[in-house]
């Protein structure tokens, strides 16, 4: 018995009166219950970007290397030379992970991998950007956050390890604003020949439409609509909206699809992710300028008596829609039987522009595909800045023992070693990991293409909370800086915009500011945005998350000899700071973690300076003299120097200082001014660094030299000494110890 359409039912589907009127106008009649469900997911924020589309148009999306632009297909594609290209994208699985961390994170990984092989690319590595509330606290939130991080990490490991795609890097941050609303942003990159890009279009009228992969079940019903609501105390009741992943099936589907694509039988291919069968049918038809007709009776199902509504809105995992070239249907059967995967011809490509769904022959859904996929109403939300953050008067800031402050910072889980996490990820499968997790950027040798790629994800959400525009600019700059430090040229960006409820004017203002900041920075760095994802409604009972526009950036290292790591190598090497000593303390982790204040204006980014610093470092790396390069970010110079001393397999000390610095030692040690990179070179190369910096007008500070078993820093006339073991212990074991906590 299908429910009758009432205003209440429309409202429960998350559609406004205005939107419902639009649907009636589009159809020329009332939608039935199934059609209402179809519209509710396709016109949800998750699928339609109705609140953000205007903003997303501000991103630069073109460039000489761009082969597939943002929004065109499931992922962007970039030319990396030699006939090869990479498809890459980042996507969030925040809401599912909040209510069911293990499956939420696992299916996030599965989904992004499918997006990549849908492009015809073999997935070669994963990154992830994670955000949690504090994990060291006693009390309810501490316990909850530990449960979330354990579940999310295990879920990522479960899927990524089994499917055999290495997780080689990323970032993990901790802040109270993510209490109960973690962020799980997963990134995947795949390799393909530039001439073999697969398309998600239903082309060729009369071609058969095949359903391949796992059977459709009742799991993940309307997950896209679920992700477009606030998280509340009641969200746990939404657990049926979280899908269950099967990485083994995912692996079979990946191999079968790549084999099928290579056979030349495929006219179009689309994964069934958010909004499942609904989204894949109307989107392929819309892209192909065609229609698609399917019959639900032919869909492989896991359970009996599923209604058309349930089948269409299910988000069961590991499923694909494939449009097969006429006469090649036997290939699909042969390959999917070989891999023991279900498949079924469920329909055909038509020429009438309709998404038409039959239920055992009788028409259940009949909606113009293009309008459904692309013509969701677009909104301009009200934007208003939140109250200005509290400013910081340094002269009134208590001067604490800097020696202790550094140890406190190293213990902060945002800075502490992530070894407990990345040891659980298989980061060496596919035999290409050159720089494993723990350096500025991960470096991977793509054997098929004989290319070295570097990749990183970055976002300082503390800066974004205080000034979203500046924070977003810095996220791009830092990503590029990390790639530069690894020896790479930055190529392109995928972004994941994580914000709160867009109906709150201050949230929408943050989103707009951040988008404009990202767009400006991507233009300045010549790194087009090739795709990404928006996750709104990141709210917990405590309020909105800090704005978190995560940047995933990839780079290319032309010569193996340029690959550079962050840690010091040899006794006697000279340590330089490329850039200035700096002084900006606003928004620093020092203020937050040591003084307990989330305040002040974050550091200002000067593009000219940033570009010049990065250009110089890349150039020096290419002359072969740079032994280590590490960017200064959270925790400033002191933390960066510590990491250069202790993050390699062999710890080595350094004695450094800036004789000209005048001011408070804590400012010297912990300020987070931008455009700074620490490099080390052999003594005989020092003069070359100095003369080249002078020629190009980049500030340079000779900090000291590598060696010994301590880190000794002269900060404006006062000398601080830490033993390497003293630094290593809190840094290496902070997260390990927090999670050894028995939360019974």
């Amino acid at each position: 018995m299908t429910p009758t359409i009432t205003p209440e039912l429309v409202h429960r589907h998350g559609l406004s009166e205005h939107e419902f009127a639009g649907i009636k106008a589009l159809l020329g009649r009332e939608p039935n219950f199934t059609e209402l469900g179809v519209f509710s997911v396709m016109w949800s924020e998750h699928c339609s970007y109705k609140n953000t589309r205007r903003e997303l148009k501000k991103f630069p999306t073109t460039g000489p290397r761009v082969l597939v632009k943002a929004g065109e297909e499931n992922a962007g594609v970039i030319d990396i030379g030699g006939g090869w290209a990479v498809a890459f994208k980042m996507e969030s699985h925040n809401h599912p992970s909040a209510v069911e961390p293990f499956q939420g994170a696992a299916t996030g990984v599965g989904g992004i991998i499918r997006d990549i092989f849908t492009m015809g690319a073999r997935p070669v590595f994963l990154l992830n950007s994670l955000r949690f509330g504090p994990i060291h606290d006693e009390g309810e939130y501490g316990r909850k956050n530990r449960k979330l991080i354990r579940g999310v990490v295990a879920g990522i490991a479960h899927y990524g390890n089994c499917i055999g795609v290495p997780t080689i890097g990323g970032e993990v941050y901790f802040d109270e604003s993510y209490n109960g609303n973690p962020l799980v942003n997963v990134f995947c990159l795949g390799i393909l020949r530039r001439t073999e890009i697969a398309r998600g279009a239903a082309s060729g009228v009369g071609n058969a439409v095949f359903y391949v992969g796992s059977e459709t079940g009742r799991d993940g019903l309307a997950g896209a609509a679920f992700a477009s609501r606030d998280l509340t105390e009641e969200s746990r009741a939404d657990r049926p909206a979280v899908q269950v992943g099967d990485p083994f099936r995912g692996k079979l589907l990946l191999e079968a699809c790549l084999e099928l694509l290579a056979s030349g039988a495929v006219a179009g291919i689309q994964d069934m992710g958010a909004a499942g069968l609904t989204c894949s049918t109307c989107e392929t038809a819309s892209r192909g300028g065609t229609g698609v007709q399917i019959d639900l009776a032919l869909v492989p199902k896991r359970e009996p008596d599923m209604s058309p509504y349930e089948i269409l809105l299910s988000e069961s995992q590991e499923r694909m829609l494939i449009i097969v070239q006429r006469g090649k249907e036997e290939q699909v059967k042969r390959i999917f039987e070989k891999w023991d995967l279900p498949y079924s011809k469920v329909g055909t490509v038509t020429n009438d522009g309709f998404m038409r769904v039959l239920d055992d022959g009788s028409v259940e859904v009949e909606i113009p595909a293009k309008q459904l996929a692309d013509d969701a109403p677009i909104y301009e939300r009200e934007a208003a800045p939140p109250p200005a953050p509290e400013s910081i008067d340094i002269s009134k800031l208590e001067l604490l023992d800097p020696k202790r402050s550094l140890l406190q910072l190293l213990k902060h889980p945002s800075i502490a070693s992530k070894n407990w996490i990345f040891r659980q990820y298989d980061h060496t499968v596919r035999a290409g990991t050159v720089v494993p997790p723990g350096s500025d950027a991960a470096v991977f040798y793509v054997r098929e293409a004989n290319r070295f790629l570097a990749a990183t994800t970055d976002c300082n959400s503390l800066y974004c909370c205080l000034d979203p525009r500046e924070g977003a600019r810095i996220a791009v700059a830092e990503a590029a800086r990390n790639l530069t430090c690894s020896g790479a040229d930055p190529l392109a960006v995928t972004d994941n915009l994580n914000f709160g409820n867009p109906y709150k004017p201050e949230n929408f203002w943050q989103l707009r500011e951040a988008v404009e900041g990202l767009a400006e920075a991507c233009r300045r760095f010549g790194t087009p945005v090739t795709g990404g994802n928006v996750s709104l409604y990141n709210e917990s009972p405590q309020g909105s998350i800090d704005p978190t526009p995560t940047v995933g950036m990839i780079g290319l290292i032309e010569d193996e000899a340029w690959i550079t790591r962050q840690y010091f190598r040899d006794q006697g090497d000279i340590v330089f700071l490329v850039g200035e000593v700096g002084h900006e303390i606003g928004g620093s982790l020092y203020l937050k973690a040591v003084h307990g204040r989330k305040a002040g204006a974050p550091p200002r980014l000067n593009f000219e300076k940033e570009l010049a610093v990065q250009q110089l470092v890349r150039e020096l790396i290419r002359t072969g003299i740079v032994k280590s390069a590490h960017d200064c970010s959270e925790g400033g110079l002191a933390v960066a120097l510590t990491e250069s001393c202790i993050s390699g397999s062999e710890k080595i000390g350094a004695t450094v200082g800036a004789p000209d610095f005048q001011g408070r030692p804590d400012i010297f040690l912990f300020n987070e001014s931008q455009s700074r990179i620490i490099i080390s070179v052999a003594p005989e190369a020092a003069a070359q660094v100095e003369s080249r910096a002078e020629e190009v007008g980049v500030p340079l500070v000779r900090l000291g030299e590598v060696g010994g078993r301590t880190l000794t820093i002269d900060a404006g006339g006062t000398s601080f000494v830490w033993s390497l073991d003293q630094l290593h212990d809190p840094w290496y074991f902070s997260i390990v110890r927090a999670l050894a906590h028995q939360d019974l």
Binding site: K251, R423, D426, H427, Y445
Partner: protein, 233 residues
């Protein structure tokens, strides 16, 4: 000479093993599909890592009953060198070609990290180019890699010299700290009494190329090729 790399559904180091042989050593190697019922024509067989059949039920348990394994067991019993890496080792234990079993890591967590191995037996086809007691570096990546055997099986393995690899520290000592997963006697790999079937948890297929930070794994594949060449000669 032709070497087979078995492909079970869910194998994910099949490509790495094939490349180690093809690119690392330029030998003739090809995939052998799990549904095949014959392993004829192959001079050696590699069972790669991964999650065969999803590792559902128990790691390697379903793969042990796949059609191709029946043929491989027969080939192994006739002396064909068979090499199981990671999941391949688990499969060999499940078939009974090797003694003992692999159980959950001591930490109960999946572990991916570099380890140091000591060669305890250099008379197998996979270790004959190496000196006894020499050290190799390569990664592990497993959730269920703790070697376990009952008292008599363990004593037999040790007494017969069937322990091929042991987890050790930088100085070659088999300490508890050097044991990443809680394996009995720090055992990382073993062989059958005849020596032609070898299984190990660490990954030589991820350490055969200078760019990966270690080429030590190549020595094992090279040993195999040398063995096969000397048999042929």
């Amino acid at each position: 000479m032709k070497i087979a790399v078995v492909r079970f559904p869910g194998s994910n180091c099949d490509q790495d093993c094939l490349r180690a042989l093809q690119d690392g050593l330029e030998v003739d190697a090809e995939y052998l599909w799990h549904k095949e019922t014959s392993a004829a024509g192959y001079d050696a067989i590699v069972l790669p890592g991964g999650f065969s059949y999803g590792d559902y039920l128990r790691c390697g348990a379903i793969a042990a009953f796949s059609p191709v394994m029946r043929a491989i067991i027969e080939a192994a019993n006739h002396g064909t060198p068979v090499f199981g890496v990671c999941n391949g080792f688990q499969v060999l234990c499940e078939t009974g070609l090797l003694g003992g079993a692999l159980i959950r890591n001591r930490s109960l967590l999946f572990l991916c990290q570099p380890v140091v191995l000591k060669i305890e037996n250099n008379s197998t086809p996979f270790t004959r180019l190496l000196n006894e007691k020499s050290l190799l570096r390569m990664p592990i990546a497993h959730g269920e890699g703790a070697f376990y055997a009952d008292g008599s099986t363990l004593a037999e393995l040790e007494d017969n010299g069937q322990v091929v690899f042991r987890y050790v520290d930088e100085h070659g000592e088999a300490t508890s700290e050097a044991n990443p997963n809680g394996s009995m006697n720090n055992i990382a790999g073993i062989c059958n009494p005849a020596g032609n079937v070898v299984g190990m948890m660490p990954h030589p297929d991820r350490s055969w190329d200078r760019r990966l930070g270690s080429e030590d794994g190549l020595q094992l594949f090279k040993s195999l090729v040398e063995t096969l060449l000397s048999v042929a000669a």
